[in-house]
Amino acid sequence: MEPELLLAAAAALGLAVVFTPLRVPRASLLTWGLLGLAGMAAIVIAPSLDLVILILLVLAVLQARLTSNREFVTRLRAPVLAIALLALGLAFERMQGPVVLDRFGAVGIVAGLVAAIGLLPYVHEFDPDESVVASPIPWMAFIGPPLAATVLLQANQVIPSDAGDAFGAMLIGLGLLNMIGGSLGSWRTENDASAWRYSFMADWGLAMCGFGLAIADGRSAALLMLFSIVLGRLPLYLWSRQALREKVPTDRPINLVVAAVLAGSAPFAGFPARVLLLRGATQLYWPLALVLAAGMLLWLPSSLRLGRSMGVPRGRQAVGVAIVLALNVLLGVYPQPLLTLAGL
């Protein structure tokens, strides 16, 4: 799953670089993107979770050094908390002791992962006017997906089965928290850029629920969700930045189509992800599926808002949006090749 997500991130970077408006300097975007990709590649190929944590530390420090309105120290807090929690969690898992220690270890890993990505309740401080690269968005939409897949894969090897239930339950619980908090926040918050950030959280909520289900359907759902984040929401967010500054909501058909992509409507990638998630939840505990199904409806108001905030893409951006839409339709209608590639 991780190599596929890495490829998706690379593709997203390619899309961002190629189809970004001409005024944006591509070289720096490419430089920083490639640096991030290198870090992600290192994370993916790292043989142990310890190395993953260390690489994460490097990425955190590198990103914190970028120019931003936020202080260097402030920007480091959440990633370092994540690293500390992951390290403590891993340490607890490696110690011999009562079962509760393993559970605390699971808490550390889950909380650390959530903190690394920047999800509720470990949210990174966000400045809507900040450049995307220096903001918490790359943690959520660029580095986060391969990181999560890697951490969870490696964590499964160190967490004993006694604590496995707690691990899954926490993922699902935090997933639901993010799903509801993210979608409501995205709908109700005043700032459009913040709304986008919340919407990433909401998507992550579904992905975490998928991971928490700990069955193939759940993992497949999570993979599709993460793909839709990396190859859907992230490029669309990048291309919406100009319109966000201009604050001109538009109601063209393309805005509705974008809203549909963001809402996970059929035939886009979010829809089969939701179907798989419902399937997984039904296998595990059907009331969870009910909660998920009800929660999935919360995406719509915020997606309409975000779709309208995108403005009317023109020129290169329009081509980029078309490619993103096509990719999402492909994944939405026929995700089998991707799932096969990911061994799911």
Partner: protein, 550 residues
């Protein structure tokens, strides 16, 4: 015919959409004829595929990736519903002028709806139906973003509910293919989800829902197409549920509740229709009204009921095409349409409703009372129709999208199609019914000449043909000059009619009293949660640690 040809009714509109887009991007609008060609090609493909064999054809193209395969299936049900969707859609796409974006989205919507109908399983239907719903929303907003349209959340909820039902079937029985689902897998909760999906997808509720609201848009190009493609899909699910349940729903209560709901839906539409202030307002309620009658009979769980329901749905499809093309002005087209809509004898609507009411009585037990209720609602429709003939026309429509002669021809066709109800039954409805429901001896039969039920025979040709001739002579001798266009007061207003709207308004306007706002300050809450404060993080960590020790 190779089984790959089953893709044709879906692929042809898709190809048309592609061609329209390609030409559109190069600055050339192909025009409505070429646009309609995609839909008519699908109609032709459907006919060519079905008529020579008249048996179920299947195509399996491997797994799609979410537990379901790309399985297409063309049986009598798919054929019937395919025609219901494709023919009116093709008609409006052919006649009405659209820009290339609208045309492409419209044809895509047709392809999606056809995909939902040809899908071999529940989940694939949900995917295609959800796509059709998404495209419908885009289409309507592309035409006029301020005009009424279905709530997207409701449509999404419908198709998500169906998806969930599909995955429950997959989990429980290993498959969600209509033909392969074991009867025991269609439990009450699963069926409840399917029924809910069907009702929401078609807006089958007693209050004014999207199939009525979209007719109040300034332009009805998108509205007509959306109703043509989306409205039958909810019924399709209810019919397919019979196939999964071996001809019945899991509990008899579902039959009773849904059939009663059908009457209530038709009643709601009739009440609104009789208080409409314009003729357009009346016409807006026609499709929901017919839908209510269709639901009443489809849900009965008897072969006769299902046959009557399918004929009623075919009638609804014809009326959809007619209303999409009808101008907002007085004249013979409006009169004929009203006559057809209220089911004046010996029209198709009359025959379908008579058979439908009969089917409730023959269903036994208390279902007869549903029939009594249905008849009473029909009378209310008569009142509404009579009143509507003299109402002011309405806001008016762009002339480019109205075709009074075609509209009148379609309405007249349904009027004179009464004698052909036997033909429709034997060629269209009965095969579909037989595909999903075992047929007890003597429950429904007949042929081209008559419809034979358990207790009666409706001699459609022998009785309706002379009646039609007499009617033509009588109406031919009559003049229409006496009809006076005037604002007409409603016969009655339901005291609680505006309650839902008032409640919604009250909820929308509800706000926290000033003195309590400091208790729950959402902004402060958001700032606390999103501020990146270590104290909150620590508290969360403690909470998690506490939770895992429970």
């Amino acid at each position: 015919m190779p089984s790959i040809a089953l893709l044709a009714p879906v692929l042809l509109p898709l190809i048309a959409a592609g061609v329209i887009t390609a030409f559109g991007l190069s600055g050339f609008n192909l025009g409505p004829i070429a646009v309609g060609a995609g839909a008519w090609a699908a109609v032709l493909a459907l006919l060519v595929l079905w008529i020579p064999l008249r048996s179920t054809q299947e195509l399996s193209l491997g797994q799609l990736g979410f537990g379901t395969g790309l399985q297409l299936r063309l049986d009598a049900v798919a054929f019937a519903f395919g025609l219901m969707v494709l023919v009116p859609a093709a008609l409006v796409l052919t006649l009405q002028r659209r820009n290339w974006q609208e045309a492409a989205i419209g044809v895509l919507g047709v392809a999606a709806a056809m995909g939902a109908i040809e899908a071999g399983g529940v989940v694939l239907t949900a995917l295609a139906g959800g796509t059709a719903a998404t495209l419908a929303i885009v289409q309507l907003d592309a035409e006029d973003v301020r005009a009424p349209r279905p709530r997207w959340s409701m449509l999404l909820a419908a198709w998500l509910a169906l998806s969930w039902a599909g995955v429950i079937l997959q989990v429980r029985s290993g498959t969600a293919a209509y033909a392969a689902v074991p009867v025991s897998a269609l439990t009450a909760p699963v069926f409840a989800l399917i029924a809910l999906a069907g009702l929401m997808a078609s807006g089958l509720v007693p209050w004014r829902s999207w199939p009525a609201e979209v007719w109040s848009r300034p332009s009805l190009r998108a509205a007509g197409l959306v109703v043509a493609t989306l409205y039958p899909l909810g019924f399709y699910l209810l019919v397919r549920a019979y196939e999964m349940g071996d001809g019945r729903y899991p509990q008899v209560a579902f039959h009773a509740i849904l059939a009663s709901l059908g009457v209530v839906v038709a009643l709601g539409a009739a009440v609104r229709a009789q208080s409409a202030t314009t003729r357009r307002g009346f016409f807006a309620e026609v499709i929901p009204g017919i839908g209510g009658f269709a639901l009443m009979t489809v849900a009965l769980g008897t072969p006769l009921g299902l046959v009557a329901g399918l004929i009623t749905l075919a009638f609804a499809a014809a009326m959809t095409a007619c209303l999409s093309l009808l101008p907002d002005r007085a004249g013979p087209a409006s009169l004929v349409t009203i006559a057809a809509a209220v089911g004046l004898p010996p029209a198709l609507g009359f025959g379908a409703r008579v058979v439908g009411v009969e089917s409730t009585f023959e269903a036994g037990d208390f279902f007869g009372f549903i029939g009594v209720g249905g008849t009473i609602v029909w009378v209310l429709w008569m009142v509404a129709g009579a009143r509507a003939t003299g109402l002011p026309a309405g806001r008016g429509r762009p002339t480019g999208e109205t075709f009074p002669r075609v509209a009148m021809a379609v309405a007249a066709l349904t009027l004179v199609a009464g004698p052909a109800i036997g033909l429709i039954q034997s060629a269209f409805a009965s095969p579909a019914q037989a595909d999903v429901m075992p047929l007890p001896a003597g429950s429904v039969g007949g042929g081209l000449m008559s419809m034979v039920t358990v207790t009666t025979v409706l001699p459609v040709v022998a009785l309706f043909v002379p009646l039609l001739i007499i009617g033509v002579l009588a109406y031919g001798a009559a003049g229409t000059r006496l009809i006076r266009t005037q604002p007409r007061p409603p016969l009655f207003n339901l005291p609680w009619a505006g309650a839902a709207a008032r409640l919604r308004r009250a909820v929308a306007l509800a706000s926290m009293p000033e003195q309590y706002r400091s208790i729950l300050d959402l902004r402060a809450l958001e700032a606390a949660a999103m501020g990146g404060r270590p104290l909150i993080w620590l508290a969360s960590l403690v909470a998690l640690a506490f939770a895992v020790t429970r």
